[in-house]
């Protein structure tokens, strides 16, 4: 791994070795991913780009432990995902990953606060502690004053900020965002990207999947996926200086 030069000898947060994903079998088999090698280190802010059908959503599902690869190895924070039981996978999704979806995916008819608390509920955190941390996370995204509102009472940008709060509240190893600005107007997009910039500045590991160039350019490292393969991997001007330029993994 060439980019370990910049990060010392620390193990990558997530590492994919020859990951393939095949749907169906025989003549009708669809090779969504045809051998992905990727390492993301703590503090990276990575954007994965690609047109629809390129396999980037499949990759996102694998990274989020929502799906299991057909072959190859995927390690997240030292866990080989393929070997985990269903209960362990649930724990990994709960503790290691913070999801942000294109369609926000807040649970309807639950207040913003309750939505943000949800990962902590499944993590078994006590009620008072939960409340405190959820309010803190909502405050981070500037929505503490709307904690009692239900998703349908919030604008799209506000809903996505609640979703970000929910992704952050469990202090996950990896923040994983799937087209986070896809359903938002330019003003809200700017808000959301501003929050991601802050998070990156704090050293959070972020993987964002997008097909929008201007969104990807805000990251530190841009990957292009095409036909189930990573076709380019380069640092952006926002990358910290130590990051190597033009490395293809």
């Amino acid at each position: 791994m060439t980019n370990q030069r910049a990060r010392g000898d620390a193990a990558p947060v997530l590492e994919l070795i020859d990951v393939q994903q095949v749907y169906g079998a025989g003549d009708t088999a669809v090779h969504a991913l045809r051998g992905i090698d990727l390492a993301v280190h703590a503090g990276d802010y990575v954007a994965i780009m690609g047109p629809s059908g390129s396999g980037k959503s499949t990759l996102m599902n694998l990274l989020g432990c929502l799906d299991i690869a057909s072959s190859g190895t995927y390690s997240l924070a030292g866990n080989n995902v393929a070997t985990l039981s269903e209960a362990e996978l649930a724990r990994v999704r709960n503790q290691e990953i913070g999801f942000i979806f294109q369609s926000f995916n807040l649970v309807p008819r639950m207040s913003a606060l309750a939505n943000v608390e949800l990962p902590l509920v499944y993590g078994g955190v006590k009620r008072t502690e939960r409340r405190r941390r959820a309010l803190e996370a909502l405050d981070r995204v500037g929505l503490a004053h709307r904690s009692g509102h239900q998703p349908q009472e919030l604008s799209g940008g506000q809903q996505q900020r609640v979703a970000i709060a929910r992704a952050l509240v469990g202090s996950p190893t990896l923040v994983l965002a799937d087209e986070p600005t896809g359903n938002l107007d330019s003003e809200s997009t700017e808000e959301i990207l501003g929050i991601f910039d802050q998070l990156a500045g704090e050293g959070r590991t972020i993987v964002i999947i997008t097909h929008e160039e201007h969104v990807a350019e805000r990251s530190h490292r841009m990957l292009s996926v095409s036909d189930g393969l990573i076709v380019s991997d380069r640092a952006t001007p926002h990358a910290p200086r130590a990051f190597p330029q033009g490395v293809l993994v």
């Binding site: 269903e86 709960n94 503790q95 979806f101 807040l106 649970v107 499944y122 993590g123 078994g124």
Partner: protein
């Protein structure tokens, strides 16, 4: 995920679609209420019969001459060639004096049906009973006003009578019947007493009878042949069976019935008849219970239906929850708790409705709620909710998060 959180989220799920929840709840409510109420109605009617058994007095048996021809009726020839005797007043006296261990009293009865009249009014045909004074101790009829006739009256065939309260009012609407004279058929009787009013249980209305010394009735109306029946009082209600046996043995001996002969009489136990009725009322209760249980089952299927729809509708929510780290158990628990909440609330409301309903008379029967029916109906309804909730909940829990998330 803690129990409190599961319950909270279940409550949220139930209140999310109020109309649907209310309708489902109604199904369970009706099921539970009908189980409790129908069992109570059945139990109430059985209770009424049991009360009338207690009324009857449980320590008596009745001996009646069989009226079967051929076989072994009175006058038939026994296998030894001798003639079987009839049960006469003499036999009754012999039986009473035989010193049977479990027999307290033997009361002979003859009966017929005749009109009774006073100087002003006459009645329809009423039942005329000739008996001894012990009748008022042994049977459920007791003297209300005036007094009983005496053993002396029986010996002298006195023309005295005790009449039923309703008959007394019919014949003497203006004043007391005691001391007045009534005419039965053509024979005048002096009324010495009036029976206390009692509830009518059998075919004969005990409030319209004329009761007179047996010798007088035989002399004037029925002749000195066989008596109609013997009312036998056992020493205790527990000794009824023993008394029955003793009477049988003694009667066979007195009447000259051989071992191979059919007895020319039957001994009936008044209570056994009513116990049969009570038993049929009990099986009626079971029938009602089954019908009600079916409605409870239908209510349960309603819960399953709602849970299935709810799971389908909320597939995406399940996906989100799984993405946030919900385990299979947490999803299963959430949907099961929802099903249990629905049936529990419906069940409790059903119990309340049934308890209110039990205060009203239903088709002439006062429902008596069976204690066990409440926990039974409630338990069954929750069990049905959980049982039928398992399938939809299992389906929800088993979904792969990626599939669930893709749902619209």
């Amino acid at each position: 995920m803690k129990t409190g959180d599961i319950l909270l989220s279940a409550l949220r799920g139930v209140t999310a679609n109020k109309l649907r929840s209310v309708l489902t709840l109604l199904g369970v409510l009706i099921g539970v209420a009908s189980v409790i109420l129908l069992l109570a109605v059945g139990n109430g009617s059985a209770q009424t019969i049991r009360d009338s058994i207690a009324n009857l007095g449980t320590d008596t048996v009745t001996v009646r001459a069989s009226s079967t021809g051929g076989g072994g009726g009175p006058g038939a020839t026994t296998s030894e060639g001798s003639t079987v005797k009839e049960i006469t007043l003499t036999v009754s006296q012999q039986l009473a004096e035989a010193g049977l261990g479990h027999v307290e009293a033997v009361v002979p009865q003859v009966s017929t049906s005749l009109t009774a009249s006073s100087t002003s009014t006459s009645s329809d045909s009423v039942s005329i009973i000739g008996t001894t004074p012990e009748y008022f101790d042994v049977s459920t009829s007791s003297i209300g006003t005036g007094e009983s006739f005496t053993t002396e009256d029986v010996t002298t065939s006195a023309k005295v009578a005790v009449i039923g309260s309703e008959l007394a009012t019919t014949l003497f609407p203006t004043g007391s019947a005691v001391g007045q004279t009534i005419t039965v058929d053509t024979v005048p009787f002096t009324v010495v007493g009036v029976l206390a009013t009692q509830s009518s249980t059998g075919t004969d209305d005990p409030n319209t009878v004329v009761i007179a010394p047996i010798t007088r009735i035989q002399k004037s109306f029925t002749g000195f042949g066989a008596v109609s029946s013997l009312l036998v009082q056992a020493t205790d209600s527990d000794d009824v069976a023993a008394a029955e046996g003793e009477i049988g043995v003694m009667l066979d001996q007195l009447l000259g019935v051989g071992v191979d002969d059919t007895a020319p009489y039957t001994i009936t136990n008044q209570t056994s008849l009513l116990e049969t009725q009570a038993a049929s009322a009990d099986s009626f209760t079971v029938l009602l219970g089954v019908v009600a249980a079916i409605s409870l089952l239908v209510g349960g299927i309603g819960v399953t239906n709602v849970m299935l729809v709810s799971v389908t509708e909320r597939t995406k929510e399940i996906g989100i929850r799984k993405a946030l780290g919900a385990t299979r158990g947490a999803i299963l628990g959430q949907f099961l708790a929802e099903a249990a909440t629905l049936t529990m609330v419906g069940g409790i409301l059903g119990v309340v409705v049934a308890l209110i309903g039990a205060n009203f008379e239903i088709y002439g029967t006062m429902p008596v709620v069976l204690g066990y029916s409440i926990p039974l109906a409630l338990g069954v309804s929750v069990a049905i909710g959980v049982f039928f909730g398992v399938y939809p909940a299992g389906r929800a829990a088993a979904m792969r998060p990626i599939q669930a998330l893709r749902a619209v």
